[in-house]
Assembly symmetry: C2
Homo-oligomer: 138 residues x 2
DNA sequence: TCAAGATCTGGACTGAGTCAAGAAAAAGAT
DNA sequence: ATCTTTTTCTTGACTCAGTCCAGATCTTGA
């Protein structure tokens, strides 16, 4: 289950060294950018192209193996914590991102008061504020 | 109140032709991009630089006269409906953006179950789904 | 083992937005 | 009304995150 090779195979994704390394990097560094993941992968397998990183991240995301978060004004972030629709708090000062479970319930805000006839499939929630460290030093 | 000149002056913002035109454009075309706003402004006053549009939008946003929305994978959108913390539904197919009031209340989700010590100042909620038109044609 | 198909590489390219320096315009004080 | 100071606007280069493409390489399954 946590063996990347098995995980990829179970999802019908051809197993490549690059994909394994990208998945390991996302596991090791939650909420990190494609760029940070590329660096981590290079440290572990020596080299990978920027494009292969983006391709792997896109494939893993589309298979539900990882999750993409796209906060305003920052590049996309990736994490392996999927399937529990948790949300995120981001520090406006230092960018630190933390997980948060919504008080409302398992699938918060999925029903809107007036949905204008839309069929809603996802509620994206991002909290903005200041992290403990930045609060302390101010 | 709805006179742009007065509105700007009340907020201590120097009144310029560009700012008035940008504010009018945002009023006329809610949920539109900086680019669309620039086109609208050019149609109305003849010319404006890209930078002046970004500057005006930033100033108006910082004064709370307009609001910036930054949906994942799309350029920022602007609107004049401020002060009522409403949220948005975006169609994955055609990009149409509609206003929505959250079922939870006036300030939905502002308190998270476990905030990890963060001081939260904003909850950004974006619903994703399919609009009535796109539902019909599928 | 081999063919067919998918993936990876390298490099050019795009879109949204920012930076910086000088020209133009607005505000405040005669 | 005019001048001075300060802010804003223009122009054009530049950055960053991400995409597109063509050819080389690797995975898979027969
Ligand atoms: Mn997370
Ligand atoms: Mn709106
Ligand atoms: Zn912080
Ligand atoms: Zn639609």
């Amino acid at each position: 289950m946590s063996d990347p090779t098995v995980l990829l195979r179970n999802h019908g994704v051809p197993v490549t060294a690059q994909r394994i390394a990208v998945l390991n990097a996302v596991t090791k560094l939650p909420h990190s950018t494609a760029d940070t993941i590329a660096e981590e992968v290079r440290a572990s397998i020596g080299a990978i192209s920027k494009q292969a990183v983006y391709d792997a991240l896109a494939t893993l995301t589309s298979k539900g193996i990882i999750r993409r978060i796209q906060p305003a004004g920052s590049p996309a972030l990736f994490e392996t914590r999927v399937g529990d629709n948790h949300h995120h708090i981001i520090c406006r000062t230092c960018g630190t991102t933390a997980d948060v479970d919504c008080a409302v319930g398992e699938r918060p805000c999925l029903s809107a008061a007036d949905n204008s006839g839309f069929k809603i499939d996802e509620a994206e929630v991002i909290f903005w504020g200041t992290c403990p460290d930045c609060l302390a030093s101010s």
